[in-house]
C-alpha cells in the first residue's frame, strides 16, 4: 500500500504521457509530422532570434543606388555605446618645475616629463588600467621605485608603444592618437587579445584541417574558415590574397586555403569594427582599390601597424609575462583590431583624450625599435616547427601586401 502511494506520481506521469502519445502512435505519418513539426518549430524560433529586427538605420557609404549601405541596429548600438564611454581627462596640474627623473628614482621612459605631470599621468593610468587594484597593479607596495612587479616592465614598454604609434602611425590612428585607455578601458587585460591557436593535432575530427578550418570559433564568425587568421597576417606577413580574376590560373598562384584565411581575417575586421564589408570595399569588386572607399586604405595601414607593434612591442615581452598569462603554446598576448576598436568603427567613436596627456604624444626622434625574428622567437618559445610554416612569409614578403599580384590588383 505504502509503495503504491509513493509510486503514484510516477504512474501518473506515465499515464499522462501514454495518453498524449496514444493518438499519435496509431498513425505513422502523424508521428513523423508531429515530431518533425516540433523540431522544425524550435529551429525556426532559434533562427528568428538571430535576425536583426526592424527598424535598422542605414548609413550611405558610397554612390547612391549602388548598395553601399552599412546597416546599424540601434538596439545593439545602444548596448555597445556603453563600452565606448571615454574616461574624461583629469584637470591640468601646476608644473613642479623639475623633471620626473630628478624628483623620483628609476625613471626610464618618462624622462623629461614634469614631476607633477608625471604623477597626473600615473594617477590616470591607475584609473585606465585596473582601478580596483590601483598603483599596486604595477608598483610594489613596498617600494614604488623597484621593478619587482612584471606589470611595471610591461607598462614601460606599453608607454613606449603608445608614443611610437602616436609618432609613426598617425596614418592609421589619425589626429586623435591613442592612449592606454583606448585598449584597456579600465581592465588589466583589454577585452580582445589573441594567442596562437595550436593545431588540432592528433585528436582533431575528420573534417578539421591543420590550418584550423572546420573548427568553428567566434573569431571567424563561427564559420568553417581557419580559426586563427591572426598569426599569418597580424604577426607574420603572409600576403592577403583572394582567388584570381581570370578563369585560368594566369599567374595567380593563390590557394583556396589562403582565400579562406583572408576571409577569416575580413570577418574579424567586420566584427571588431561593427561594420559590414562595404565599409571598406565596394561589393561590386572587392579587390579593386579604385572602387573601394577611402577607409580601405586606413584599414590596410592598420594591418601594417598591428603587425609592427605585435612584433616590436608584444613579442619581446614574451619572457616578461608569467607563464599563466601566456597562450596555450606559450606565446605572449597580442593585439588585433578589436583590442582598440572594441566593436566601434573608431574607438570611442573618434573621441580622444590624448591632447590632455602630451607626454604620450611621443616625438619624431622616438628611437626605432629592433624588429625581432618572429619565426625564430616562436620556435624558441614552443620548441617545434611553426604550425603555419607553410605560409610563413619570407622576409621579402613583409612588404609584399601591396606588391604586384595581378589577382588583387593592388593599385592604390
Amino acid at each position: 500500500m505504502i509503495g503504491d502511494i509513493l509510486v503514484a506520481p510516477f504512474r501518473l506521469v506515465g499515464l499522462l504521457l501514454s495518453g498524449v502519445f496514444k493518438g499519435i502512435y496509431g498513425h505513422p505519418w502523424r508521428t513523423a509530422f508531429s515530431i518533425g513539426g516540433c523540431v522544425g518549430g524550435v529551429l525556426l524560433v532559434l533562427l528568428a532570434m538571430t535576425f536583426n529586427f526592424f527598424p535598422v538605420v542605414s548609413i550611405q557609404r558610397g554612390f547612391r543606388g549602388v548598395g553601399m549601405l552599412v546597416q546599424y541596429n540601434p538596439r545593439s548600438v545602444a548596448r555597445e555605446a556603453g563600452y565606448q564611454q571615454i574616461i574624461a581627462a583629469y584637470p591640468p596640474v601646476q608644473p613642479a618645475g623639475v623633471p620626473a627623473e630628478i624628483a623620483y628614482k628609476n625613471i626610464q621612459v618618462l624622462k623629461g616629463v614634469d614631476a607633477n605631470e608625471f604623477l597626473r599621468l600615473m594617477a590616470t593610468m591607475a584609473n585606465w588600467l585596473q582601478p580596483s587594484v590601483g598603483c599596486a597593479f604595477c608598483h610594489s607596495a613596498v617600494n614604488m621605485a623597484e621593478d619587482r612587479v612584471y606589470t611595471k616592465t610591461v607598462a614601460r614598454k606599453m608607454i613606449e608603444m603608445t608614443r611610437y604609434i602616436n609618432t609613426n602611425w598617425r596614418a592609421h590612428v589619425g589626429a586623435g592618437g591613442v592612449v592606454c585607455n583606448t585598449c584597456h578601458r579600465g581592465a588589466a587585460v583589454p577585452g580582445s587579445i589573441w594567442f596562437m591557436t595550436p593545431p588540432p593535432g592528433g585528436r582533431h575530427n575528420f573534417a578539421q584541417t591543420q590550418s584550423g578550418e572546420n573548427s568553428p570559433s567566434t573569431v571567424a564568425g563561427l564559420t568553417a574558415l581557419p580559426n586563427d587568421p591572426f598569426t599569418p597576417f597580424l604577426l607574420n606577413a603572409a600576403p592577403i590574397r583572394d582567388q584570381g580574376t581570370t578563369a585560368l590560373p594566369d599567374g595567380n598562384r593563390m590557394s583556396t586555403e589562403q582565400t579562406n584565411w583572408t576571409y577569416s581575417l575580413m570577418i574579424h575586421f567586420a566584427q571588431s569594427l561593427g561594420v559590414s564589408c562595404n565599409y571598406c570595399h565596394n561589393t561590386r569588386a572587392f579587390g579593386e582599390w579604385d572602387q573601394s572607399t577611402p577607409k580601405r586604405l586606413v584599414a590596410w595601414t592598420a594591418i601594417e601597424m598591428v603587425r609592427d607593434i605585435n612584433r616590436g612591442y608584444m613579442v619581446p615581452l614574451t619572457d616578461v609575462f608569467p607563464v599563466a598569462s601566456r597562450g596555450p603554446i606559450g606565446d605572449v598576448p597580442k593585439i588585433n583590431c578589436g583590442t582598440c576598436h572594441a566593436g566601434a568603427y573608431k574607438p570611442f567613436y573618434g573621441a580622444s583624450t590624448l591632447a590632455a596627456y602630451p607626454e604620450l604624444e611621443g616625438s619624431p626622434d622616438t628611437p626605432a625599435h629592433e624588429r625581432v625574428s618572429v619565426g625564430g622567437q616562436r620556435q624558441a618559445a614552443i620548441g617545434q616547427p611553426s604550425p603555419h610554416a607553410a605560409i610563413d612569409a619570407t622576409p621579402a614578403a613583409a612588404t609584399s601586401t601591396a606588391a604586384g599580384n595581378t589577382a588583387v590588383a593592388d593599385t592604390r
Binding site: D4, I5, A8, P9, R11, L12, V13, L15, L16, G19
Partner: protein, 67 residues
C-alpha cells in the same frame, strides 16, 4: 527564488490535478485514488515550501554553507 519555488510546486500540483481528473474520467475511481495520493504529497510539500521558503536564509546559513 522563493517565488520560483512556489510557482514550480504550483505547476506540478496543477499538472497532477489535471492527471487525476483525466484518470477519473478514463479509468474510474481506482486510478484516480492513486493520483489523489500524489496530490496530497505534493500539496504537503508545497505547503512546507510555502512556510519554510521565507526562512531560506537560515536554512542556507545553518545547513548550506561550507563547514
Amino acid at each position: 527564488m522563493y517565488f520560483g519555488f512556489v510557482v514550480a510546486v504550483l505547476v506540478v500540483w496543477l499538472w497532477l490535478a489535471g492527471g487525476s481528473l483525466y484518470a477519473w474520467r478514463r479509468q474510474g475511481l481506482r486510478s484516480s485514488l492513486a493520483v489523489l495520493t500524489g496530490l496530497t504529497w505534493t500539496g504537503i510539500a508545497g505547503l512546507v515550501l510555502l512556510f519554510v521558503g521565507p526562512y531560506w536564509h537560515a536554512v542556507y546559513q545553518i545547513l548550506g554553507q561550507p563547514g
